[in-house]
């Protein structure tokens, strides 16, 4: 028992995972017809992945002690670049690469302004958010673009196809990215540099970390990730619309904080972000399915968010390990 708790104390994102599990149990009790069928989960696997990809990038940015408000605009821009390329040249792969490059470019500009000109990231990315939405709307003439023909392209199958006709592949892509970026954050030189910079940039500097280069890379990476999110969103819907991505900022940010990433920087919890994003992504459908009515959705969302964040602070990290050592003392009976 004590060993179990000891292990649990070290599991990243566990409190949030418990909240997610409890949430699904509650939904299964109060909306059994919907939540005991696999369909609702397939629908989550279809809607959550773009936001999850965004949340991965934002976790990195917040860990570094910065913020990025511009990613919704990148979702729109990358969707436009891809659809434009696909419409104009009839090929999908170059569109994918161009869209990712566009996102990376937006991120690089953000990073350059933050790192080199020392403009606070909240201002840089707020301005970028308006600017790149503006660029996208201008370029698209304010119109949505239908790309139904993309359905027959292999790109569609690879990024947003259905495994066994039901399982959305994008869920695997986003999960794969969570795993990859967990290793980059926790087991790679780059991730470690990000944590130290978020912790104390001066310490990072005197220990020989290239603080400016790392910041530029970080924002570039976040731009590319946001572009990938825009890509799977556009491909899934087979349509680009110039306001896509709007309304994603706050849910994605909420997921990162629910997940236990510190707003003060210095530590990031990608597993928590993963659970947090599925909590946020499941709430609306879940609350509606229980039949208590649409007006309750936001209230319940607010409650669950508050509960998760509080849970993280109370039993997360040192809290849970303290609990486990107390339990060990009880179990072993020493002192």
């Amino acid at each position: 028992m004590s060993r179990l708790l000891g292990i649990l104390g070290r599991v990243e994102g566990l409190p949030v995972g418990v909240v997610l599990a409890l949430l699904y149990v509650a939904f299964m009790i109060f909306a059994p017809t919907v939540f005991t069928s696999y369909r609702i989960y397939m629908s989550f696997f279809q809607t959550v992945p773009p936001m999850l990809v965004l949340a991965i990038g934002l976790t990195f940015v917040i860990t570094a002690g910065e913020i990025d408000l511009s990613f919704p605009a990148v979702v729109a821009l990358s969707g436009f670049v891809f659809t434009w390329c696909f419409e104009t040249f009839g090929v999908a792969w170059p569109g994918v690469l161009l869209a990712l490059a566009a996102g990376a470019l937006v991120g690089w500009v953000n990073g350059f302004l933050v790192a080199m000109l020392r403009v606070p990231s909240i201002m840089v990315t707020l301005a970028a958010q308006f600017f790149w939405y503006g660029v996208t709307i201008l370029a698209a003439g304010g119109l949505q673009i239908d790309i139904a023909s993309v359905l027959s392209s292999p790109v569609h199958g690879i990024f947003v196809g259905r495994l066994f006709e039901v399982f959305p592949v994008q869920a695997l892509w986003s999960l794969g990215l969570v795993v990859l970026f967990w290793f980059i954050l926790n087991r790679h030189r780059f991730g470690q540099a990000i944590m130290f910079i978020g912790d104390n940039a001066e310490v990072a500097r005197v220990m020989g970390i290239g603080v400016e280069t790392t910041r530029i890379r970080l924002f570039t990476l976040n731009g590319a990730l946001a572009a990938f999110a825009g890509l799977i969103l556009t491909l899934e819907l087979n349509v680009f619309y110039p306001t896509q991505g709007q309304g994603m900022l706050l849910p994605v940010m909420a997921a990162v904080f629910i997940g236990g990433t510190s707003i003060a920087g210095g530590q990031g919890a990608l597993v928590g972000t993963f659970f947090g994003m599925y909590i946020i992504g499941s709430l609306e459908a879940g609350v509606v399915a229980t039949g208590i009515g649409g007006y309750w959705v936001q209230l319940v969302e607010g409650l669950v968010m508050a509960a998760s964040v509080i849970l993280n602070i109370v039993i997360g990290d040192s809290g849970l390990s303290a609990l486990s050592s107390t339990a060990r003392r009880w179990a072993v009976g020493r002192r």
Binding site: Q192, M195, M207, G266
Partner: protein, 262 residues
């Protein structure tokens, strides 16, 4: 170890001037540290200690003058913090040596990670070595602190110990301690002084900057006094008592002693 190093001095500074605009911060500073010597750098606030340290560690270049590291001349125009590290000089700052929220094994290897080809960390090996340094080099035992502990769990003295142990592990020939005992309790100060002894035992050199004369007197082989941008005295430990050193410094801080008198 140091025996294989033929250099006579760890560091030598010749006629260094530093001007900020028209303000003279350092004037014709000559200074050296033997390769297994602990030098106490003393001086009042604003005397030029930190300016000198920043020049030595490559934060900014001197206006004129020469710097020799291990008897080799350094090109001061291209000398940076990174090149200071590469040449074996490391500074341990009071408050910016460790990432507070990071585990000790990360703090030991930050900036000098052991990695696999793609830049992924050799976590197990880093932890093993960090543990070795903690137990053998700096002598942390028990106390519920492991390589997994976050730096914020350590006391101020222990943090200095980690930073000193880290510098020693990476074979730094000269470790500069910038006011390492400010804001520490007496017990913690003792610990830091023990760590400094380990630098000496390890055959390395150290510049110990402080305005607490008692600490410096206990561990330094030689005292260098800096006042208003000039080195005014270099005294071997054996040639002065703590009381005499104290009185000597007081005269400077009261402006009683004329500089020509030294």
């Amino acid at each position: 170890m140091a025996e294989s190093n033929p250099a006579r001095t760890a560091l030598r500074v010749v006629d260094v001037d530093k001007y900020f605009g028209s303000v003279c911060a350092l004037k014709k500073v000559n200074f050296e540290v033997g390769r297994n010597e602990i030098v106490g750098l003393l001086g009042d606030n604003g005397a030029g200690k930190s300016t000198l340290v920043k020049i030595l560690t490559g934060v900014f270049p001197p206006t004129s003058g020469e710097i020799y590291i291990a008897d080799k001349k350094v090109d001061t125009s291209s000398y940076t913090v990174k090149s200071a590290h590469a040449l074996g000089i490391e500074t341990v700052y009071q408050d910016k040596s460790l990432g507070e929220k990071q585990s000790l094994w990360r703090n030991f290897f930050i900036g000098r990670e052991l990695t696999y080809p793609l830049g992924f960390l050799k976590v197990r090996e880093q932890k093993r070595i960090a543990n070795e340094i903690m137990v053998n080099t700096i002598g942390f035992r028990g106390r519920g602190i492991s390589v997994e502990s976050r730096a914020s769990k350590l006391s101020g003295g222990e943090r200095q110990g980690v930073a000193i142990g880290r510098a020693m592990h990476f074979e730094k020939d000269l470790i500069i301690l910038d006011e390492p005992t400010v804001a520490l309790s007496l017990k913690e100060v003792r610990r830091v002084l023990e760590f400094v002894h380990k630098i000496k035992e390890g055959g390395k050199a150290c510049i110990y900057i402080s305005h607490n004369i008692v600490d410096v007197y206990e561990i330094a082989d030689r005292f260098v006094v800096i006042d208003r941008g000039e080195i005014v005295a270099g005294i071997d430990r054996g040639k002065i008592s703590l009381k005499e050193l104290d009185e000597f410094l007081l005269e400077y801080s009261h402006g009683l002693r004329d500089r020509a008198g030294s």
